[in-house]
């Protein structure tokens, strides 16, 4: 039985095959973990849909497979019976026959006048010694594709005969520029890299490839603008200091600044729906739910668990949810629903000591915000110099969806909500 890569979640069309957890010849129980699959949303272990023996691995590690594509062949008991039946017919070859039929090689055809008799098989003669056609013009298919996609054919390097630009070259170019932008740009070729001793090549892991593809997509498809706002978080710092111990005692988890920020972002997204949207050529799609993705550095690379309906939760509730999600992310235990459906992304680059960053929007979302390191600075407050805890928030946004005014209103809303945090802020 051929095993297909199942559809895992919305807007996922393909996956990269990770490590195979079974070898060819292994006996497999139904639901045994079969293979790791990496999609742009999640890494998952695919359970075997049947019981049997793994006969063939069709998609090897690192291969990209469309949802519904075959990845393995598992011999089930049913199949074995069928195979045995087929074997009873001695002069049919092992390959699958079907209604397409099979041309027998080991049998004599009919004789020239109707009788049957063997005929000798002679060496065939090649009739092809023509020189290849010379490069000249673009084919109609190439011209049509170039026109439809407004492509300057001079940008494309042909792989056809005499460097002719083929239809496939144009399609690859279009795909590279729409999904994995920059692929067509020139970089050092494999040969260059291999021949040089003063550098080293690190093989791309499936996760790295996926991140690369997503980042290229963001950079290639979204015209991004960026802004930075300084926030006085002195009140938030002292509030957290005040409740840290009691919260730990009561809830058993550490309270960080993150839930405060998520709360402020969720409130601000409610007031500024353009930030919680997706671009399409037919119109801007506003998302009704506020699902905030939180970028987490996991051992294998970046993952983005999502808090669905983040605006429904209190600060304490958000703290609990985040604690669970981050722990799962670090152990690679996130489930698909926990990583999909994000409408906005938040990244705490401040944890790395950064004071300013320029994140890439998580396609197809409208914007991404970072919180930077909290640093005590001398600032002017009511005409006096005061020492305040300051934090920058940086926002990258899809300039097709909104202009600086809307993005600025959002940032200012987050700023105000964070600056208003004080001893009387409710965390439940």
């Amino acid at each position: 039985m051929k095993i297909e890569l199942p559809q895992v979640g919305e807007s996922v069309t393909e996956g990269i095959i990770g490590r195979w957890l079974k070898n060819v010849g292994d006996k497999i129980e139904k639901y045994d973990p079969l293979v790791e699959v990496i999609t742009d949303k999640i890494n998952m272990e695919l359970p075997s849909p049947v019981r049997g023996v793994l006969r063939e691995i069709i998609a090897n590690e690192g291969e990209t497979v469309q949802m519904g594509g075959f990845i393995a062949d598992i011999e089930t008991n049913e199949n074995q019976e069928n195979t045995n039946q087929d074997k009873l017919e001695p002069d049919v070859t092992d390959q699958e026959i079907g209604t397409t039929g099979v041309l027998l090689k080991n049998t004599a055809p009919v004789g020239p006048t109707g009788s049957s008799g063997p005929i000798s098989r002679d060496e065939p003669l090649s009739t092809h010694d023509e020189s290849p056609p010379k490069k000249s013009r673009y084919s109609p298919a190439v011209l049509r594709l170039a026109e439809e996609n407004q492509i300057d054919l001079a940008q494309i390097v042909g792989t056809g005969i005499n460097e002719r630009i083929t239809r496939k070259d144009v399609i690859s170019f279009i795909e590279a520029n729409s999904t994995i932008g920059g692929k067509a740009s020139t970089g050092p070729s494999d040969q260059d890299t291999q021949s040089r001793k003063d550098q080293e090549k690190i093989a791309l892991t499936p996760v790295r490839k996926m991140i690369a593809a997503n980042m290229s997509k963001s950079a290639a498809l979204i015209p991004q603008a960026w802004s930075e706002v300084a926030v006085d978080v002195t009140g938030m710092v002292s509030k957290r200091q005040d409740i840290k111990e009691s919260f730990m005692n009561k809830e058993g988890i550490n309270i960080t600044y993150l839930p405060f920020v998520i709360k402020a972002v969720a409130e601000s997204l409610k007031k500024n729906p353009l930030l919680n949207a997706t671009w399409s050529e037919e119109g801007i799609i506003l998302k009704k739910n506020i699902n905030i993705g939180i970028a987490v550095a996991a051992p294998d690379g970046l993952v983005v668990p999502v808090i669905h309906n983040a605006d429904f939760f209190s600060i304490a509730g958000l703290a609990e949810i985040m604690e669970a999600l981050i722990s799962k992310a670090k152990n690679g235990k996130l489930t698909l629903p926990e990583v999909q459906g994000g409408t906005f992304t938040l990244n705490n680059t401040g944890a790395l000591g950064s004071v300013s960053s320029r994140p890439l929007v998580n396609h197809p979302q409208a914007a991404i915000m970072t919180t930077e390191a909290i640093i005590k600075r001398p600032v002017i407050k009511e005409d006096a110099i005061a020492i305040r805890s300051m934090m920058n928030i940086c926002l990258s946004f899809d300039h097709r969806i909104m202009d600086g005014a809307e993005a600025g209103t959002f940032s200012m809303s987050v700023k105000q909500l964070l600056e208003n945090i004080g001893s009387d802020t409710l965390i439940y």
């Binding site: 026959i97 209604t99 039929g101 055809p109 004789g111 005929i119 000798s120 083929t166 496939k168």
Partner: protein, 327 residues
């Protein structure tokens, strides 16, 4: 499903239609007591009797002419021409008359007849036992020309041909008779005339072919897949009428087309297919449409090396695929 040969499929189709419809009868040379030179009608004489299984003299023009008259009178004859090489005396009856019956009588008469003939080379049959005759008949409006490649297709198409209300030339490749085996459903089925069939899906190159060549093309496509060239194989099944829609669809998909046929290449089926492609899919073409057909030689030579040179095989197709892929 049972696995049977093309010959068995043809025998089953005729037997079923004869049992279903009393108007169906078979006439031809050696088809009675001998059961046909290839044994296509083996056992028919004892089952259906001399009135429905008629051994004829060696006179093909009479076989075709009597069949035509019977068809116009309300019967449904299957006329067997022992070898397609002997079909030429029927040209007047078939091209000159049968094809024009419906047209010439303004639809008052029609000729529901099937002219079956084994054809094709690769069996060391030389000049008089290797000819391909499809292009001659396919040129004529009013005829249908069927060229099956598999047992499944042969059975389904022959049943449709027998039930068709107009003359059908049914050309069976001799080399497929015993060499091609395939599954055939136990239940009754038919295949509409004029519908091509994608025998293998692919992305890079389309091969359009029919008859025995389908199998050589599938083999070459398999070899090409090892070199990451994805080949689609479209089996025309019926060379008149041609399934223009399926032809254009596969060409639009790949942009590169190879047309493979054993018959002489010039002015053959591939020439018409090629013209249809340039007319209807010009803007999708990424390479010249290539025909791989028989050489400009009057007949199949007797010498085995020369016969091999005449015949198209998987290796010649592979070379053409490679050139087209690199283009």
């Amino acid at each position: 499903m049972a696995v049977i040969t093309v010959l068995e499929a043809i025998r089953e189709a005729m037997r079923e239609e004869m049992r279903n419809d009393d108007r169906v009868f078979i006439m031809g040379e050696d088809i009675g007591a001998r059961g046909g030179v290839f044994l296509a009608t083996e056992g028919f004489l004892s089952e259906f009797g001399e009135e429905r299984i008629i051994d004829t003299p060696l006179a093909e023009s009479s076989i075709a002419g009597i069949a035509l008259g019977a068809a116009m009178s309300g019967l449904r004859p299957i006329a067997e021409i022992e070898f397609a090489d002997f079909i030429w005396p029927t040209i007047n009856q078939i091209v000159g008359e049968a094809a024009k019956v419906r047209y010439g009588t303004e639809g008052k008469l029609n000729a529901p007849m099937v002219l079956r003939a084994p054809q094709g080379g690769g069996v060391r049959g030389a000049l008089y036992h290797s000819q391909s005759v499809e292009a001659i008949f396919a040129h004529t409006p009013g005829l249908k020309v069927v060229t099956p490649s598999t047992p499944y297709d042969a059975k389904g198409l022959l049943k449709s041909s027998i039930r068709d209300d107009d003359p059908v030339i049914f050309l069976e490749h001799k080399r497929t008779y015993r060499l091609v085996k395939g599954e055939v459903p136990d239940q009754e089925y038919t295949i509409p005339l004029g519908k091509a069939d994608v025998k293998k899906l692919g992305e890079d190159i389309s091969i359009i072919t029919y008859g025995l060549m389908v199998h050589h093309c599938l083999e070459a496509a398999q070899m090409a897949s090892l070199k990451n060239i994805s080949v689609e194989v479209l089996d025309l099944r019926t060379v008149r009428p041609l399934d223009v829609e399926s032809i254009i669809n596969t060409v639009k998909k790949t942009g590169k087309t190879l047309i493979v046929y054993e018959d002489n290449q010039a002015l053959g089926i591939g020439s018409e297919v090629s013209a249809l492609i340039s007319q209807h899919a010009f803007e999708y073409l990424d390479a010249p449409v290539i025909r791989l057909g028989g050489p400009e030689v009057p007949a199949m030579p007797f010498s085995p090396p020369l016969e091999n040179m005449f015949m198209i095989d998987a290796e010649k197709i592979s070379t053409a695929i490679k050139e087209l892929a690199e283009y």
